[in-house]
């Protein structure tokens, strides 16, 4: 539990801690009382946070989000799983239509009709948040801390979305909030307050008829109860924190008076207003030119270091991913086809799709060569996959690819954190053995649907 396996980051976190907990205190006066006296320093929130370092802050587990149209059911996200830890940036790459943005919206609980999350869970594991939600939504909280691990599953009721897994002296130290099952009322608390999002187009993601300050203050009022001049001061501080000069004047200006880069900074300030634990960036730099793009990435990195943010970064730009991500998930037609730490992925890409993506970056081949591309386009995932969705475009496809749906497996024995959903892997097995491994895993997966 007490895993402080990343000592390098602890000073930054330590210095950030006081401001963070004071900010929390403003917003939620209800929750911190019973802490402190009888508990040793081990149980203090900062260590609870330290605990969490070992395990993910956000677990996306087997999520399937589908859109129901008159014609067909489109599985925009089909069984996606990944984790995000504190201070870590997880990149999600893929072509348009691969389900990146829908994944982000699923995590935010923003999927709207005709879309629906069919299965899976998004578990937010911040102990602070679990405590808050457990006290506010007691009726929908399942306390499984006394139960043996195998009994836990059954003890979680249909309606429960807060799960308490561990208590120390009555204080919740481990548990999660399931975003997928959370009611709208809880989602509103979660959004912005705990999980914030920055959208693709800064030019249109601010409301044109209200001042930038007004829109930041709206978030401050909702989650921290700040109003009036306190809120204004906080908004100015936030704008300064994201590098907007002359923030005192800018806070009273309208979005159209900001340049594109400044607007994205303002949007980031708005997202950070309530000190979220997780920041989801949905192509935040796509609409910006390259110099501004670099500045925004720099800003995100600084903010992450300062606040120990967990960032999920969506983009289709491999260059941006290489720059900002710690680990990368490559998505294709609603599924994660390869997942690896960033250096590993760029040095040893395994899935043919990832290879194709990397080869199609201009300048990676010789001068005179034509730019290599992946022929064809992403298919619409509108049925249960019994085959590899990439097979029609895959240069390495073989007969089994049309028959067996690949599942994520370790690319080789002992390959740490590197998985690929391709029948070619694990590569140290014979092809027949690999295919039958995928087949048998498929069976397990299908049952739980």
């Amino acid at each position: 539990m007490a895993g402080s396996d990343e000592p390098a980051r602890s000073p930054a976190r330590g210095s950030d801690e006081p401001t963070r907990s004071s900010a929390r205190g403003n917003g939620e006066p209800a929750q911190p009382p019973a802490r402190g006296d009888d508990e040793s320093a081990v149980a203090a929130p900062s260590t609870a946070r330290g605990d969490a370092d070992g395990e993910p802050l956000l677990e996306v587990d087997g999520v399937r989000t589908a859109f129901f149209t008159d014609k067909e059911v489109i599985r925009a996200v089909d069984g996606v799983s990944f984790d995000i830890r504190r201070g870590e940036t997880v990149g999600v790459v893929g072509e348009s239509g691969s389900g990146k943005s829908v994944t982000a919206r699923t995590i935010m609980g923003l999927v709207e009709s005709p879309g629906r999350v069919l299965r899976g869970s998004v578990r937010f594991r911040d102990p602070d948040a679990v405590r808050r939600f457990a006290s506010k939504f007691g009726g929908r909280t399942a306390d499984v801390s006394d139960l043996a691990p195998e009994e836990r599953e059954g003890a979680i009721g249909e309606d429960d979305f807060v799960v308490v897994e561990e208590r120390r002296d009555g204080e919740i130290t481990r548990g999660y909030v399931d975003v997928v099952r959370a009611p709208e009322k809880a989602l509103r608390k979660l959004r912005g307050g705990d999980i914030a999002m920055v959208f693709q187009d800064p030019l249109t993601s601010l409301n044109p008829v209200y001042t930038v300050g007004n829109q930041i203050k709206e978030a401050l009022r909702l989650h921290r109860g700040l109003t009036g001049s306190d809120a204004t001061r906080e908004a100015i501080d936030l704008l300064e924190a994201v590098g907007i000069p002359d923030a005192g004047r800018r806070v009273r200006e309208y979005p159209h008076e900001f340049s594109g880069g400044m607007r994205q900074r303002a949007v980031i300030a708005m997202a950070l207003a309530c000190d979220p634990e997780v920041l989801i960036c949905d192509e935040p730099t796509t609409a910006l030119d390259v110099t501004i793009q670099a500045q925004i990435l720099e800003l995100l990195r600084d903010l992450q270091e300062e606040r120990d943010l967990a960032i999920m970064f969506i983009t289709h730009d491999m260059g941006v991913i290489a720059e900002i991500a710690d680990s990368v998930n490559v998505m294709y037609a609603g599924e994660i086809v390869e997942s690896a730490p960033v250096v590993e992925l760029f040095e040893r890409p395994k899935h043919p799709y990832t290879r194709g993506l990397l080869e199609s970056i201009p300048g990676t081949q010789g001068r005179d060569e034509r730019l290599r591309t992946i022929e064809g386009e992403v298919p619409t995932p509108n049925e249960e996959p019994t085959y590899c969705r990439f097979a029609p475009r895959c240069p390495k496809a073989f007969d089994e690819c049309d028959r067996v749906h690949p599942v994520p497996v370790d690319v080789a024995d002992g390959a740490r954190d590197h998985t690929a959903a391709c029948l070619l892997y694990p590569e140290d097995e014979s092809r027949e053995a690999a295919v039958s491994l995928h087949e048998s895993r498929n069976g397990e997966r299908g049952d739980s649907a």
Partner: protein, 345 residues
Amino acid sequence: MSRWGYFLRRLLLAVPVVIFGTTITFLILRAGPLDPVSAILGPTGSPQAYNRIQENLGLNKPLWEQYIDFMVSLFTFDLGQSWVINPDTDAYDLILLFAPRTIWLGFWSVLIALFVGIPLGFYAGLHPNTPSDYLASFGGIVWRAMPNFWLAIILVGALGLSGPFGGAWINLGPQTNIIGPPDLGFFSDPLRLLTAPGDTWPDFLAALKKIAPAAVVLGSASMGNEMRIGRTAVLETINSNYVETARAKGVPRRSIVWKHVFRNALIPLVPIITGEAFLLIGGSVIVETVFGINGLGYLFFQAITQGDLPLVGSLMFIFILLLVVVNILQDFLYTIIDPRVGYER
């Protein structure tokens, strides 16, 4: 602030517009086939009498002199006297007599459009593709498609004395007939509505009931318009990125609708709403005629067919002023609602 600078410039630009409009009015009146002298004289007058009257009215003076007289008197609000319709009566008095009925009619028809059309459109936009949306949208189109004159005649037929619902309508609330001008006596002392409600409210209600069918007819087209444009505007805003950003911020739905959607959806509605203020003036001639309301539309029509030049000129001048004021009001609303207005980019 340049928003208000923009508004001030708009205000100044209105002056040449008024001058230009009045000039055109003069030219059309003089160039047109209007002959006020023979209208006054009747078919049996002698040429001598004709010349005498022409001289009296100043119609034999050079055109530029007449133009200057015309402009100066209008811009000093000296509206002159009626020649034909009601000889030797001040045009001002005539307008004061006829205008309240039209204003009363226009006021209620604009109100019906505003308070039925826009809420209905917003409701439909917030619940797109539901049965209630289909009902509202379909109703809006049907309502929009019914021509004024047709609907007016149908209503008069149905609610008139000999109509199938005639009796029911007459006895509904205060007793009034469907045809005829409303009695707006309480207008002369509107404060009495507050000080002596017992005496004046029945009059008020009677006047309201009297005008209601005409107002429904006049407001129906714009009601359908506002409904449909309101629906589109809401749909467009609710799917915009900033609404999604607001949702991602955790803003509750009610506040999203009222703060983020409502104000943005109003922007395309402003010109539609102000455009309807013209109902106060122009669109009402047919409806006024069918319902027998002697309003400005009726007066204007009579004046123009009978060649009552001063009256026509004065009415036109007032219409132009109203139009310009409504346009300025529209710009004012824009500057209030949309901060982007007025910036040169």
